[in-house]
């Protein structure tokens, strides 16, 4: 009896382990294509960026590579253009994140209701999101045209004189900010909208029985309920914002007077225009660290609050 049970158990264990082995084999073969691709085109380049940061070489001559220790980083921290680009990147981020999220939340509140045309409004707010940034950048160069642009014509209507927008070092970055908010607010609106629709209607009913008005409901029900969604929106917007590249690349090429040169643009220019591959890698590493720092600190900061 005892031995029979043991035999049965052994057999069970052995089919179990055979199945386990088979599952392992299948598992590996299923993840292999993706994992190999990620190793070659994401992990390897990432590690190379870290290594290249300690070297000096021309992009076109990767065979003539010299290790130079921390020289690139020393140079970086004395490079005025690096600091300028860092500042521009931070300035863009600091302004765009709250403004865009605020506009998005307002839009979400505007279309979260039973209006008959709400879907039309939603699509209107969302249409710039699906339009590519290249198209938008070129379109807005025309809109911002100092002499014959649509925006100056509109300002003229209100009695405001022509503005230089992208041609002025004091207005160029703000012009890019305005356009970026216009382009992407619809995206965040959708996320806020999903959050709003997840709030239980009972909360609103109960509070209106208690005599709360719309503003109090917004303050005491809506805003607190959106906490997690807001954390998410702020985090992704920040990470998107520090990557600012296409807008200045197409619209201003970093000018006037470096006022729109960003870190991503600097990496591109150092690496591919001046072919300083090592120096560009060092900037890439700093750039990566900034992104990591932001995503971790956002989470922590917002959780502590």
């Amino acid at each position: 009896m005892q031995t029979a049970m043991n035999a049965h158990k052994r057999e069970h264990i052995s089919t179990f382990s055979r199945q386990r082995r088979r599952e392992t084999l299948v598992g590996y073969s299923f993840v292999t294509p993706a994992v190999l691709l990620l190793i070659f085109f994401l992990v390897l380049p990432f590690l190379l960026a870290v290594v290249f940061g300690f070297t000096k070489f021309n992009l076109l001559r990767p065979d003539k590579i010299h290790f130079t220790g921390f020289d690139n980083y020393k140079l970086l921290f004395t490079d005025g253009l690096f600091y300028k680009s860092l500042w521009n990147t931070l300035y863009f981020t600091i302004i765009v994140v709250p403004v865009q999220s605020g506009v998005a939340l307002m839009l979400a509140l505007l279309v979260n209701n039973s209006l008959k045309l709400r879907n039309v409004f939603r699509i209107a707010y969302f249409s710039p999101v699906v339009t590519s940034m290249t198209v938008i950048a070129i379109l807005w160069i025309s809109l911002y045209n100092p002499n014959e642009g649509l925006i100056n014509s509109a300002l003229h209507f209100f009695g405001i004189s022509n503005q230089p927008f992208l041609r002025s070092s004091s207005q160029a970055m703000n012009s890019i900010i305005f356009m970026s908010v216009w382009q992407a607010a619809g995206y965040q609106m959708m996320i806020f909208l999903a959050g709003l629709q997840g709030i239980s209607k009972d909360l609103y009913e109960a509070s209106s029985i208690d005599g709360a008005n719309k503003l109090q409901q917004l303050r005491y029900i809506t805003i607190p309920s959106l906490y997690n969604v807001t954390v998410f929106v702020l985090t992704i917007t920040t990470i998107q914002a520090v990557k600012l590249f296409v807008q200045p690349y197409i619209m201003t090429n970093g000018g006037p007077e470096n006022s729109t040169r960003t870190l991503a643009l600097l990496i591109y220019q150092q690496g591919f225009q001046f072919r300083n591959a090592g120096y560009a890698s060092a900037i890439s590493v700093i750039f990566f660290l900034i992104v990591v720092l932001i995503s971790f600190s956002m989470k922590k900061f917002l959780r502590d609050k």
Binding site: T134, I236, I267, A280, S281
Partner: protein, 276 residues
């Protein structure tokens, strides 16, 4: 009474805001249909938003100046190949991470989540060197292969597959169906929405590709539509009507795709938001 007043206020606010969001695009489309001199003549009045002198001349002359259809074809081709092969590679990876137990799967999952944070800009240079070492510069491989595997897509698939009950999968395997067959005949048919969602998110993001194609394409033959319109914009003589025509022409396919698959695109964005 108070309700109608709120409604009216909402309508007015929504109407004003939608105008702000739609006017630039409307102006782009309307201007593309006007003779060049009319665009500027109308600029200071409401007529700038009304298609009063419709002509297709801008489209005709823009198409004569640059190979727009070729660019469009290039974009559709390489973006489709990325997305479709991506669906295969990322879905089976996500499936293995969701439903199969094997040594190292936890580590792979955590690594994939961690890798989501690596910004493309910070690997741009070394990735170029990798692609260059493979002699892929100015080939389709450079535009396609590095982007097939996608951490975010794998993660989306994994989250979706987690919710499929194990009983269904077990009963299929008791019936003697191999793992790949179980996946293809049971899991895939159940997962239409997640496939559509991943496809359209990926498609729209690669449709806008700009920085990478500049680096890895040297001639016209592989250029995508984003590079096409950017080149056109810098190509003198500059005619606004023609530029607006190319912009409109680039935007229309993606808006059609969006309207067709709108539900999934929005689902993708919002599910990411709620899970995040």
């Amino acid at each position: 009474m108070r309700n109608t007043r709120t409604k009216l206020l909402l309508y007015v606010l929504n109407f004003i805001m939608s105008l702000l969001f739609i006017i630039p695009l409307l102006w782009m489309i309307v201007s593309s249909l006007k003779p060049e001199n009319q665009i500027f003549a109308d600029l200071s009045s409401l007529k700038s938003l009304l298609p009063l002198h419709i002509t297709l001349d801008n489209y005709r002359s823009a198409f004569e100046r640059i190979p727009m259809l070729k660019y469009l074809f290039n974009s559709i081709f390489y973006v489709s190949v990325i997305c479709i092969s991506g669906l295969g590679v990322n879905s089976i990876c996500g499936y293995a991470l969701a439903k199969l137990r094997f040594r190292g799967s936890e580590f792979i999952l955590v690594s994939i989540i961690a890798l989501m944070i690596v910004p493309f800009e910070s690997i741009l240079m070394p990735l170029y060197l990798v692609v260059n070492a493979l002699h892929w510069v100015n080939t389709w491989f450079a535009l396609i292969v590095p982007f097939i595997a996608n951490c975010f897509s794998i993660f989306m698939f994994r989250q979706f597959f987690m919710d499929i009950p194990n009983e269904i999968l077990e009963s299929a395997s008791i019936d003697g169906s191999g793992p790949l067959k179980t996946f293809a005949s049971i899991v895939v048919p159940l997962s239409g929405p997640v496939f559509a969602t991943v496809f359209i998110l990926d498609f729209i993001s690669h449709w806008g590709d700009f920085m990478w194609p500049i680096l890895v394409t040297t001639g016209e033959s592989l250029r995508n539509i984003q590079l096409g319109i950017q080149t056109f914009f810098t190509l003198p003589p500059i005619f606004y009507g023609q530029i607006m025509a190319t912009l409109t022409f680039t935007t229309v396919p993606i808006i059609v795709l969006f309207l067709l698959l709108q539900k999934y695109y929005v689902q993708g964005i919002t599910s990411a938001g709620i899970k995040g």
